[in-house]
Every structure is written in structure tokens, then in C-alpha cells.
């Protein structure tokens, strides 16, 4: 009897302790998510909205601007994430070598971009890649180009600038995960491999990479999610231009909501496209990376 009472009071106390967090989660997370799902079926502008069923989804298929934003976002994803993860992996294995001179300096230097504000570094990139910016000045000084490259005025180069910017910002962040994971790999495995005459690239490819597989999966999933939500950099550096060449899904959602006559319902539909993409791509990555042994 007393036992049951104690258990009951523990139950109540437990729930009371988590209640504030649960209420906050409910009000600021679960409720907005459900509400935005409901909103994604509404059509109309501003407060003047009505239930439109699948109208918004039909609209997606005909909306050239949305399709361009989707294509841009996927381009960023396909090009930038592999480059960044490979770089991070190479940096991590290089900086894990205890014989490397000044490795704590390099570790700090490569990680430091993550400590900068997204907007601050974007403004720096914008001025560096201006027509009279230091990049063009340097390339001209070095004799590589004769006319300045219109970095931000050309659809192709603008994408290059965005990819360069996010790679600079996030490579160090991913490198830290790899470095931490590398600390956990037993050194004796490498020694054994060395004694067996496995060359350096072989040790990297057949030992390091497979043993980092769970971390690589983790970083590729979070990088995918981050790139699909890309907003700050494009909004600061190019505003989606030139001619929507760097427009991302998040920036398009922002435009639909705050720049144009507010289409809150349609903007919610576009945000659910990101949700679906994140879900599908994460699932695919888990499938690819799963252990094949039964």
C-alpha cells in the first residue's frame, strides 16, 4: 500500500518536473507544426484565406520560381556537401597526426569560421567578391584574369560564391566531429596495418573511413538539413539573384511571406517540401550507410 503510494507520488512529481518543458514544447513546437500543416492547405492572401485542398500542391508543379529555387537548393546540396565533407575528413586526418607541427593552431584556424556570425561573414564575402573586391584585385594582380569576374552578377559565379562561403563556414564544424571520432580509434590498428605494409591511402580508405562511417552519416545528414534550409548567406550576399540563380527554398518562403503579398498558406506548402526532402534524403542516407551484415 505504502509502496503504491510512493510510486504514485513519484509519478506525479516526475510529470510535474517535465511539465514546464512539455508545455513549452507543445506551445512553441508541436502547435506551430500542426498549425503550419493546416495552413499549407489554405489559399489566399494575408488574412483573407480559405481552404483550398490540394490547390497549393498543384500550384507547386506549375510555379517556375519554386522549381528554380528547388533546383538551386539541390545544386547547392549535391555540389557543396560532398566537397565540404571530403575536405573536413582530409583536414581531420591530417590534423590528427601527432607529428604535425602547429596542429592546434591549424585546428583552431579551421574551426574558427564556425564562431563567426552568419550575417557578418556573409557581408565580408560580399565585399571580397565585389567587382572591385580583393578576390578580383588579387586575380588580376596575379595575371590570372584580365577583366574582373562578375562574381555576384553572373548566375554561375554567384552560385560558386555561395558554395565557397558555406564551405568556408562549415568545414571546420564537420572536421571537429571527425577529429573527435578519430581519437576513439585504437592506434594499434594502424600500427598493425603499417607492419602489414598497408600504404597511407589504404589505411585512410580501408581503416579510417569505415570506422568513421557512423560519424560521416551523422555529418552528412546534418549538412543536408542545413543546406536545404540555406537562407542567411543567400539573403545577405545575393538576395537570391541574379535572376533567381541563387534563390533557395527558404528565401522563397521568406519572399512569399514578407516581400510579396503574403501567401501564408502557399509558403507553408513550400516549407513542407523542405520537410519531405529532409525526411527522404535522411532515410536514403541511412539506407546507404546501414550495415549489410545480418
Amino acid at each position: 500500500m505504502a509502496q503504491a503510494k510512493l510510486e504514485r507520488s513519484e509519478q506525479i512529481n516526475g510529470w510535474l518536473f517535465v511539465a514546464p518543458a512539455l508545455v513549452l514544447l507543445g506551445v512553441f513546437m508541436a502547435y506551430p507544426i500542426l498549425w503550419s500543416l493546416w495552413m499549407s492547405f489554405q489559399t489566399g492572401k494575408g488574412m483573407n484565406i480559405s481552404f483550398g485542398g490540394l490547390t497549393n500542391i498543384m500550384r507547386l508543379t506549375e510555379d517556375a520560381v519554386f522549381l528554380r529555387a528547388l533546383r538551386n537548393t539541390l545544386t547547392f546540396l549535391v555540389v557543396q556537401v560532398p566537397i565540404m565533407l571530403v575536405l573536413a575528413l582530409l583536414f581531420a586526418s591530417a590534423l590528427n597526426d601527432s607529428r604535425l607541427w602547429g596542429r592546434s593552431f591549424f585546428r583552431t584556424a579551421i574551426f574558427l569560421p564556425c564562431a563567426t556570425s552568419l550575417v557578418a561573414y556573409s557581408i565580408l564575402f560580399k565585399s571580397m567578391f565585389a567587382n572591385d573586391g580583393v578576390i578580383n584585385d588579387f586575380l588580376r594582380f596575379a595575371g590570372i584574369i584580365s577583366d574582373p569576374i562578375p562574381w555576384l552578377g553572373d548566375p554561375f559565379w554567384a552560385k560558386v560564391v555561395i558554395i565557397a562561403a558555406i564551405t568556408w563556414r562549415w568545414t571546420g564544424y564537420n572536421m571537429i566531429f571527425y577529429l573527435a571520432a578519430l581519437q576513439n580509434i585504437d592506434r594499434s590498428i594502424y600500427e598493425a596495418a603499417r607492419i602489414d605494409g598497408v600504404p597511407a591511402w589504404g589505411r585512410f580508405w580501408y581503416l579510417t573511413v569505415p570506422m568513421l562511417k557512423p560519424v560521416i552519416l551523422f555529418t552528412s545528414v546534418i549538412s543536408t538539413i542545413g543546406t536545404l534550409q540555406l537562407f542567411d548567406e543567400v539573403n545577405t550576399i545575393t538576395l537570391g539573384g541574379p535572376s533567381d540563380a541563387t534563390l533557395t527554398l527558404s528565401l522563397y518562403i521568406y519572399n512569399l511571406t514578407f516581400k510579396f503579398m503574403p501567401s501564408l498558406g502557399y509558403a507553408s506548402t513550400v516549407s513542407y517540401v523542405i520537410v519531405v526532402l529532409v525526411g527522404v534524403l535522411s532515410f536514403l542516407q541511412f539506407m546507404v550507410a546501414r550495415d549489410r551484415r545480418r
Binding site: A64, A130, N131, F260
Partner: protein
């Protein structure tokens, strides 16, 4: 934006012919004394099943053609990205002129190039009916909420201060550098003053003269949507693309965004 509440505005008969507030909003592109504006004009395109919202006209085709020609003449302008590069280009003397509104005056005056600058009216398209040497860009609005308890007081404040008070306009021009659009304010001393920086030109007087010549245009409520659609076509036009195709693409995008 001023345009968005046009259809909600009061019965036009409620306003006097010399109503100062109406005069103020007329300058901003809408005359409440005229009958409440009709629904956005829908032009019917020749080849499309749905009615077009943007169709080739006698004014937009030459405008886009001229713009494309300017973009193709890469020797006469400097491409810039962002505000600093933009102001830097003309403040440094690298470009000889800039097309912009009255608000650039302060930036130009900060460059210490007194006597080297002048203000001129914008060029106009030849052979386009209704083209003028005056245009307006941007603008903002005052709102009075109909549910406000102090509605009458707020309307009175706007009408007497912003709509009538010529002295007030002199004060904000001298103190804040704000050029008001009330035409009556032109007769005040601050507006008449000439500026040595611009070679003794009466710049404010010039600007307000041009202001009076700005033809009222109803931009409708989808300004940003149309703007984005046009901007998206400019690189194609700069590469020599067809103006008709660009207008068709603009129309498709605007129709898509308006729903």
C-alpha cells in the same frame, strides 16, 4: 503601401476639391477625389488562353528594349553588387552620373566634391505617348486604423501637419534633409534656397517641380511580384533575348504569383 487600401477608401464625394490630404496622396500616386480605382486592369494577350496581366504595350516594349540596349552597352556603365559599391562608384568619380532619387543628395554631398555636381531631369523615351522627364520611385504611407479610439485626432494631425503645414516641411528639409511631397511646400524659403554644392542650383525647387510633373500611376498591390518577375528576365534581355518572350515569361510568373 498606399495602393493597397485604395479600394477601401471613403466615398470620393466626401472630399473637397482642395482637400490637402487628397493632394498629398495624389502626389503619391492616388487621387481619392477620383472615383475609387477599378479592379486591376486585365489586358488580354493575343496567344494565351488565360487573360494576361502583363501584355506588350506601346510603352513597356520600348522601355524593355531601351533597358536591354543599355545593358548591352557594357562600356557606359559599371556593374555593382551591393550598396557600398553602388555609392562608391559615383562618389569616387569613377562613374560620371547616377540615375536615382532625391534621397541620394546627402550621400553625394558627403563626398566633398562641391561645385562638381549638378542635378538634371531624367531622360524620357522618345515616341512614347505620355512619357515625361519626371518619375517617382518608392514612397511610403501613413495609416489610420479605423478601429482606433483616436481616429479623428490622427486624421486631423495628418491633414493639418502633413497635409497643410508649409513651415513644417521647411523645418524637416533643413533639419532632417527630408524632401516632402506636398506641392504647396515649394513656396517656402528652404525649398527656394540654392545649393553651392550643386553649383548654385535650386535643387529642392527643381525636385519639387519635377514632382508635380510625375504622372500618377496605380501600381496595384502586386508591385514586388511584378518587380521580381521583370528582374528575372533582365539577364536574358542583356544577352539579346526577345522582348516579346520576356513579356510572356513575366506574364506567366506574375499570374502564378498573384493566385
Amino acid at each position: 503601401m498606399a495602393e493597397s487600401n485604395q479600394r477601401k477608401i471613403a466615398n470620393p464625394i466626401d472630399l473637397d476639391e482642395d482637400d490637402p490630404f487628397a493632394e498629398l496622396t495624389r502626389i503619391m500616386g492616388f487621387d481619392p477625389r477620383k472615383l475609387a480605382s477599378p479592379e486591376p486592369k486585365v489586358l488580354v494577350g493575343a496567344n494565351s488562353a488565360k487573360p494576361s496581366v502583363v501584355a506588350p504595350t506601346a510603352s513597356n516594349v520600348p522601355a524593355l528594349e531601351t533597358y536591354a540596349k543599355l545593358l548591352q552597352a557594357t562600356d557606359i556603365y559599371k556593374p555593382v553588387a551591393g550598396w557600398n559599391e553602388y555609392t562608391g562608384a559615383f562618389v569616387s568619380g569613377e562613374t560620371a552620373a547616377v540615375f536615382t532619387g532625391v534621397w541620394m543628395t546627402a550621400t553625394i554631398k558627403a563626398a566633398n566634391q562641391s561645385g562638381k555636381w549638378g542635378v538634371a531631369p531624367i531622360p524620357k523615351l522618345a515616341n512614347v505617348e505620355g512619357a515625361t522627364h519626371a518619375s517617382n520611385l518608392g514612397g511610403s504611407s501613413w495609416y489610420v486604423l479605423s478601429s482606433s479610439a483616436e481616429k479623428d485626432e490622427a486624421v486631423d494631425f495628418l491633414a493639418t501637419v502633413w497635409g497643410k503645414d508649409v513651415d513644417f516641411y521647411q523645418k524637416i528639409l533643413v533639419g532632417q534633409g527630408a524632401l516632402g511631397t506636398l506641392l504647396a511646400a515649394r513656396d517656402g524659403p528652404a525649398f527656394k534656397a540654392s545649393d553651392e554644392y550643386f553649383g548654385g542650383q535650386p535643387v529642392w525647387q527643381n525636385f519639387s517641380d519635377w514632382l508635380a510633373a510625375v504622372p500618377p500611376v496605380n501600381y496595384g498591390i502586386f508591385t514586388n511580384e511584378v518587380d521580381a518577375a521583370i528582374v528575372a528576365q533582365l539577364p536574358g534581355l542583356a544577352k539579346g533575348g526577345s522582348v516579346d518572350d520576356a513579356i510572356t515569361a513575366i506574364d506567366t510568373q506574375v499570374k502564378q504569383q498573384m493566385q
